[in-house]
């Protein structure tokens, strides 16, 4: 929608400006206060209002040829051509209007069209159209800057929220208490394993805290975090949990928002493996192109498992985060069939 037409106050102000312009131009050519000035103004003001309306069309030109993506030569040519066409149109309207004006006011001593001079409409029309184009570009740039600022604020707020949520889920009570229970059991049966588990827990919590503070981390760091988590769960689940990582080396240096993969991996264990008597393998795959990265987490699942809302909420949260950071250039796909649950996260820089 046109930013000026949209707002009634803007529109009123805009046309007022054109009326003032009209009077100024007339006064410049025919000094006031004379009868000639009066009726030349009467003739010119409607024309300026009409041209004001015509000049609003510059917005479509500006919108169609964004200033950032159009070369300067092309820009000048296009705006010039538009200005020429529109000023010609104005000229034709002015000449028609002068005939009509002559018929209405028979006592007119001089044709105002000739008073104002034929070239006037071309030169003034051309210049004013160019100015209108420039004005519209300014409006568009201003709007864009505002939108960008809003997006930055929104994404900071969402990232902060996600960070909080991620932290809260790190301190997922189930995970924490079950892990502590395992440590407690290991202390009397396998002290080395007990020590290893406390170290893993400490590493895991420390890394998630660090990661949560950064806007981006490398896939290597994110996978490291997932490995700590999975190693801890492997102590708990024993042979029921197997892990397979198939990650292409170049993908490791790609960046991702922190803790974007972690909830997916946790879901794979909590809603997948934990519901299977014989367990299964959590597979993490990553492939990447020059500017793209796809990470896949796959796990077997029980189609009859009780379905809470927690899983869906977690995945919806990841979708929101991806959207604020990458706009539409990212995607999360969730697929469940023949007892396999699969999540694909794709990011295009």
């Amino acid at each position: 929608m046109h930013p000026i037409i949209e707002n009634k106050k803007f529109l009123a102000g805009y046309f007022f400006l054109w009326i003032v312009l009209g009077i100024a131009f007339v006064s410049f050519l025919v000094p006031p206060p004379t009868a000639l000035w009066l009726y030349t103004s009467a003739y010119a003001i409607p024309l300026f209002i009409i041209y004001g309306g015509i000049s609003l069309s510059a917005w479509y030109v500006c919108k169609f040829f964004p200033i950032r993506k159009t070369g300067i030569v092309k820009l000048v040519l296009i705006l010039g051509a538009a200005a020429f066409i529109n000023s010609s149109l104005w000229f034709l309207i002015a000449s028609e209007w002068s005939n009509l004006f002559g018929e209405i006011f028979i006592a007119v001593p001089e044709d105002p069209f000739t008073v104002l001079n034929t070239r006037f409409f071309f030169i003034v029309g051309f210049t004013l159209y160019l100015l209108s184009g420039a004005g519209h570009y300014l409006v568009i740039l201003h709007d864009e800057a505002q939108a960008a600022q809003r997006r930055v604020i929104e994404s900071t707020v969402l990232a902060r929220e996600a960070e909080l949520k991620a932290l809260r889920s790190q301190i997922n009570p189930h995970f924490l208490f079950n892990s502590l229970n395992s440590v407690s059991a290991l202390i009397s049966t396998d002290q080395k394993a007990a020590r290893r588990m406390t170290e893993l827990l400490a590493d895991f919590f420390r890394k998630s805290l660090e990661a949560g503070r950064k806007p981006f981390i490398t896939l290597r760091e994110e996978l490291e975090l997932a490995s700590y988590y999975l190693d801890i769960e492997r102590i708990r689940f024993g042979h029921r949990l197997e892990i397979a990582m198939k990650v292409h080396e170049p993908c490791l240096s790609k960046t991702v928002p922190p803790l974007i993969l972690q909830p997916v991996v946790e879901n794979a264990v909590k809603h997948g493996i934990a519901h299977l008597i014989d367990g299964g393998t959590v597979t993490i795959r990553a492939r990447c192109g020059k500017k793209s990265l796809t990470v896949t987490v796959e796990n077997p699942c029980d189609p009859d498992r009780p379905r809470g809302i927690g899983n869906k909420l977690g995945l919806a949260n990841i979708r929101d985060r991806l959207q604020t950071v990458y706009d539409t250039k990212s995607n999360i796909k969730i697929k469940e069939d023949s007892n396999i649950f699969r999540v694909d996260i794709s990011i295009n820089e």
Binding site: H174, F177, S184, D302
Partner: protein, 246 residues
């Protein structure tokens, strides 16, 4: 003196080992079996008839509450959970014994002492309200558990064709098989998804997706014919409701 027979039920070996370790100090308690899932638990409890079980709530396939639901006479129970706000609340309300992971020696000793007193006096906590509350939380149910001897069958509600009441039992018909369950048809009706299952008759609930047509049987009485040609009676009072659903 007879020893107290007990069974430890938890899907994590490490969690079971802690209970085992704590029980080392009680020679009067004998561990009859350890189970890693609900199926094993139902089997072992039917076989060993323990006086006491340690029962983890979160387990694959059949959770702790469902194990109890499947037992006609559940033994004394000490529940175990890492964290389940909902269950904990229910335990406190109904004064049922439970242990939190990581399991502390003090809490364990207290719970075991109380259990021993109950076993000596031959009394039991009433766990029915806790089990019912857990059951209600999952409505509409997506599956029905049926105990067949010592085995447990999990029947998906989507697979059910119809359910018939037979005295104190219900016969759940799914995939060409009929499974008996000690249950009330009206209770099951409440638990099933009302958009999918409809009571056609005092003794019948039908999966509406299975109905192929309804025929006039005699004056004023109708029958539903299922896709596998089973004929299910429809009472006059329920006919309108079924018509709306179809």
């Amino acid at each position: 003196m007879n020893k107290i027979r007990t069974i430890i039920i938890d899907d994590e070996e490490l969690a079971r080992s802690i209970i085992r370790e704590h029980l080392d100090e009680y020679p009067e308690v004998e561990i009859a079996a350890e189970c890693a899932n609900g199926f094993e638990a139902v089997k072992a409890i039917s076989e060993f008839k323990p006086e006491l079980i340690f029962l983890d709530i979160q387990m694959p396939k059949i959770n702790g509450f469902e194990v109890l639901e499947l037992l006609p006479e559940p033994p004394n129970v000490i529940f175990i959970t890492a964290y389940d706000q909902y269950a904990l609340q229910a335990f406190d309300v109904h004064a049922v014994d439970y242990l939190l992971k990581p399991i502390s020696k003090e809490r364990f000793d207290e719970a075991l002492q109380r259990a021993k007193v109950k076993i000596e006096r031959n009394t039991k906590d009433d766990i029915t309200p806790v089990v019912t509350a857990a059951h209600k939380k999952q409505q509409p149910i997506g599956r029905v558990l049926v105990k067949d001897g010592a085995n447990v069958h999990v029947i998906r509600t989507n697979d059910i064709d119809y359910i018939e009441a037979k005295d104190d039992y219900i016969a759940v018909n799914a995939k060409g098989k009929s499974h008996l369950k000690h249950y009330r048809l009206s209770d099951l009706e409440e638990e099933l998804d009302p958009a999918q299952f409809v009571r056609t008759h005092r003794s019948y609930i039908v999966n509406i997706d299975r109905v192929s047509k309804i025929e006039l049987y005699a004056k004023d009485s109708r029958i539903a014919i299922l896709k596998d040609r089973t004929r299910i009676p429809i009472s006059r009072a329920n006919y309108k409701k079924i018509q709306e659903m179809l």
